[in-house]
């Protein structure tokens, strides 16, 4: 018998290991997926466990030996005014920031649809805020909105009287600098995504609409916007999720104060975990917040699903 016939016979008789039978594409991504599973799923399970205990590091017992307290943390959270206030406040900031960013991004994108001199340079300048480290951006806004800062100086010039308003210490207005900082820094990201969406709309459809007598506004709202909707929805979703986690701007500008008037859910959980060390309670808060965020995301996904149906 020839050698190759022997090898062929042996191969036919010995079954391949399971991993070797997997498609090669799956084998390539498997290690990364397993690591992701470890990094995401295991901590999530730990958070779920902690949410059902009242564990604190100051109890001097390992977290896995914490006393089981059922759903008492969730029960205590719902009437917790500070928690509910933080969630509602964060949702308000998300809604205001994302909608403002979207409007500004659309307006900017329309300006950059056509070629004009220095367009590329202008795009680079517009996206600069995104490159700044969020903490540095927050520090800049801290100085801007200081009692003797440029904002008050500008207002003094305009109103022709000295203005030394304590923006960051006013419970009614302290959110404004935070929203300004957030919108200033992340509108460029929205702008890039929206511009990409607009540039990918087939030009002939747009020209056809104009040729058939539509006004530019009608062409935009009836042709460009519907075709750009999926990308814009993704941009809104990304920004909504990112804004929901807002922390550094608030930490630098107000630390959640005055009182708790600018405390976002991230600040609340930071205080709960690292000032109070109530890890179990904060874990329950984190799960409730996750539920809220997932619900918001699913709500945002609905139009996308309709678009693809």
């Amino acid at each position: 018998m020839e050698r190759h016939d022997t090898v062929q016979l042996e191969t036919q008789c010995r079954p391949l290991p399971r991993i070797a039978r997997l498609p090669f594409s799956i084998v390539l991504v498997l290690p990364a997926q397993l690591i992701m599973l470890l990094v995401v799923v295991v901590p999530t399970l730990i958070v779920v466990w902690l949410s059902l205990t009242d564990w604190q590091p100051t109890d001097n017992i390992p977290w896995f030996k914490a006393e089981f307290s059922w759903f008492w943390n969730f029960y205590d959270l719902l009437p917790d005014e500070r928690f509910v206030g933080a969630v509602l406040r964060t949702l308000f900031v998300v809604a205001l920031c994302v909608s403002t960013e979207l409007v500004l991004a659309v307006a900017l994108a329309l300006l950059f649809l056509d070629e004009w001199p220095w367009r590329k340079v202008a795009v680079s300048v517009i996206i600069l805020p995104m490159m700044v480290v969020p903490v540095d951006a927050a520090n800049a806004f801290f100085m801007l909105f200081n009692d003797h800062g440029p904002i008050n100086q500008l207002l003094s010039l305009v109103l022709d009287r000295p203005v030394e308003y304590a923006w960051l210490a006013d419970p009614h207005w302290a959110l404004l600098p935070i929203i300004f900082a957030e919108v200033w820094q992340w509108t460029p990201l929205m702008f890039l995504l929206v511009l990409t969406a607009f540039l990918n709309v087939p030009r002939n459809q747009w020209r056809a609409a104009l040729g058939l007598g539509a006004t530019p506004a009608q062409a935009f709202f009836r042709v460009v916007l519907p075709l750009s909707l999926p990308v814009m929805l993704v941009a809104v979703l990304i920004r909504a999720i990112e804004t929901f986690k807002i922390f550094d701007v608030i930490y630098i500008l107000t630390r959640g104060g005055p009182g708790a008037t600018t405390e976002s859910i991230s600040m609340y959980m930071y205080n709960g975990a690292f000032v109070y060390f109530r890890m179990g309670y904060v874990a329950a808060a984190a799960l409730l917040v996750l539920f809220v965020v997932v619900s918001v995301c699913l709500a945002l996904f609905k139009p996308l699903q309709k678009h693809y149906e």
């Binding site: 590091p57 100051t58 977290w63 500070r82 630390r255 005055p258 008037t261 690292f274």
Partner: protein, 496 residues
């Protein structure tokens, strides 16, 4: 000022158990615990403590390459490095510094209890965090090591020792004299025209105020924003605001809790204290609400505010060359209050840093010896002398050192020493961070008009009750009663 060192000495386990004895059963339990044999005191003398500590550390290192890692708050390197360099020269043991932001060091130490990373041997947490850190198990109970190495009388000249102990166990040496002190513009007080105007308006002489009411009156008097002059540079940012309320409240004659741990902070005195704090905010310089610690130094150093509140570190800056008020200040303890006709002062030790040893350290004994070395009379004097750091005088010896006197001024040190000796302790209970965070948020909410003072304090008291219940009312009550006994006699006898 009456010397309250007696209270400071009586905070070891024996006195903790004695004051924790509630009822005959508890007392019996405490008495039986007292029968534990305590190790004998170390044989060395106080005069040789640093050389003895260095020699012992060198022997323990035994020719190995040992490096001690110190977790230190940002800005303290100026105080630690000169001492650590001498340590390395004396022992051959190197020191590595891990710097963390000032306001986050306690969190970092507590996270170590969770992560068990063993990333430092020694830490310098803020003193008010000692209870939580001790409860977490991250701190080594240093009683045994102190019995072995600490010579007789070592802690006698440390003026404020309350934070060194928790539930009677010793956890680390205080290394900073952070008693709250008031600063006033001497030239404004001594101005004959101002004196006449003040006397005409209020019928009393213009002087360093004795009471908070008098201070508030002076703030209103000196507040002339149209002339670029402001009443005060008090702290109004969230990290610091509650401390002022704490002193104002105590000065009205009340402890924050009853003996059964029922909060008293929302009584009439508490509400009045908060109303007065909010009213004083009218006299702040612009920007005070947003400013933190170092911004406060600079702002007051510009010279357009009458009064300020702070610590020795504040004076280090204000008496320095960058200050616009050097030589123009006078000082006073935090004002008191009239309680049943008597002037009651309640100076407040509200910060401080303690050298502690990590329970995860592989060199606990050497680490302890470093702290013994660093807080010794000679080396601690060197540490405090450094103008680049913020450790303030905390031993008797410091107040006699010519360089320290030059750095701070004799007038300031006299007031500082008196404040240290008469200081009421901070709220050294488990969950201190939680109690104070709730207080902070509500005090600030009242200050900016978001909540009525009564509502703010009612909310705080309700939350404090919840915290106490969750942590364990019994244990908290025991520790609170012990803490009450550590209040200086001059204050304690007037507070209810």
């Amino acid at each position: 000022m009456q010397n309250d060192d007696e209270a400071q000495k009586a905070i070891d386990r024996r006195s903790f158990l004695k004051s924790a004895a509630v009822g005959t059963v508890a007392f019996a339990a405490g008495t039986s615990l007292l029968s534990w044999a305590r190790p004998a005191k170390a044989a060395g003398s106080l005069a040789n403590v640093q050389s003895d500590a260095a020699r012992a550390a060198k022997e323990l290192a035994g020719g190995r390459v040992v490096t001690l890692r110190i977790l230190e708050p940002s800005g303290s390197l100026g105080n630690i490095k000169p001492v650590a360099d001498r340590w390395t020269a004396d022992t051959g043991i190197k020191v590595e510094y891990i710097e963390v932001p000032l306001g986050e060091i306690n969190q970092k130490v507590l996270l170590e209890a969770v992560s068990k990373a063993g990333s430092f041997d020694i830490a310098l947490p803020a003193s008010f965090g000692i209870p939580d850190l001790a409860e977490s198990g991250i701190l080594v109970d240093l009683d045994q090591l102190a019995s072995k190495y600490e010579p007789e009388g070592y802690q006698d000249s440390i003026i404020y020792k309350t934070a060194n102990y928790y539930k009677g166990d010793f956890y680390g040496y205080e290394t900073d004299g952070d008693a709250y002190v008031m600063f006033y513009r001497k030239d404004w007080i001594n101005d004959p025209e101002e004196q006449k105007r003040y006397a005409d308006r209020y019928g009393i002489p213009l002087k360093v105020p004795d009471t908070w009411e008098e201070l508030d009156q002076q703030l209103a008097f000196f507040h002339r924003p149209e002339s670029g002059r402001y009443g005060v540079a008090l702290f109004r940012s969230q990290y610091f605001i509650a401390w002022e309320w704490w002193v104002r409240f105590h000065a009205k004659g009340f402890f924050p809790f009853t003996d059964d741990l029922v909060p008293q902070i929302n009584n009439d005195a508490g509400v009045k204290a908060l109303e007065e704090l909010a009213a004083a905010s009218k006299y702040l310089y612009p920007g005070a609400r947003s400013n933190g610690l170092f911004e406060n130094f600079e702002a007051y150093g510009k010279g357009d505010s009458y009064a300020n509140i702070g610590w020795g570190g504040t004076q280090k800056y204000l008496n320095g060359d960058k200050s616009g008020v050097k030589g123009k200040l006078t000082y006073g303890p935090t004002p008191g209050g009239k309680v049943n006709g008597a002037l009651v002062r309640t100076p407040y030790f509200n910060w401080g840093w303690n050298y502690v040893v990590s329970s995860l350290s592989k060199e606990q004994e050497i680490a302890y010896l470093f702290t013994l070395y660093a807080v010794s009379p000679t080396l601690s004097t060197i540490a405090v002398r450094d103008p680049g750091g913020y450790f303030d005088p905390f031993r008797d010896e410091h107040y006699k050192d010519p360089e320290i006197i030059k750095l701070y001024s004799k007038e300031f040190l006299d007031v500082h020493e008196a404040s240290m000796r008469g200081s009421i302790p901070d709220l050294y209970l488990k969950g201190q961070g939680e109690y104070f965070d709730v207080l902070r948020v509500n005090v600030q909410a009242a200050d900016v008009g978001q909540k009525a003072p009564k509502q703010a304090l009612d909310d705080t008291a309700r939350e404090w009750d919840r915290i106490s219940r969750r942590i364990g009312r019994k244990g908290q009550t025991v520790q609170w009663r012990f803490l009450k006994s550590l209040y200086p006699e001059a204050a304690r006898s007037h507070l209810v």
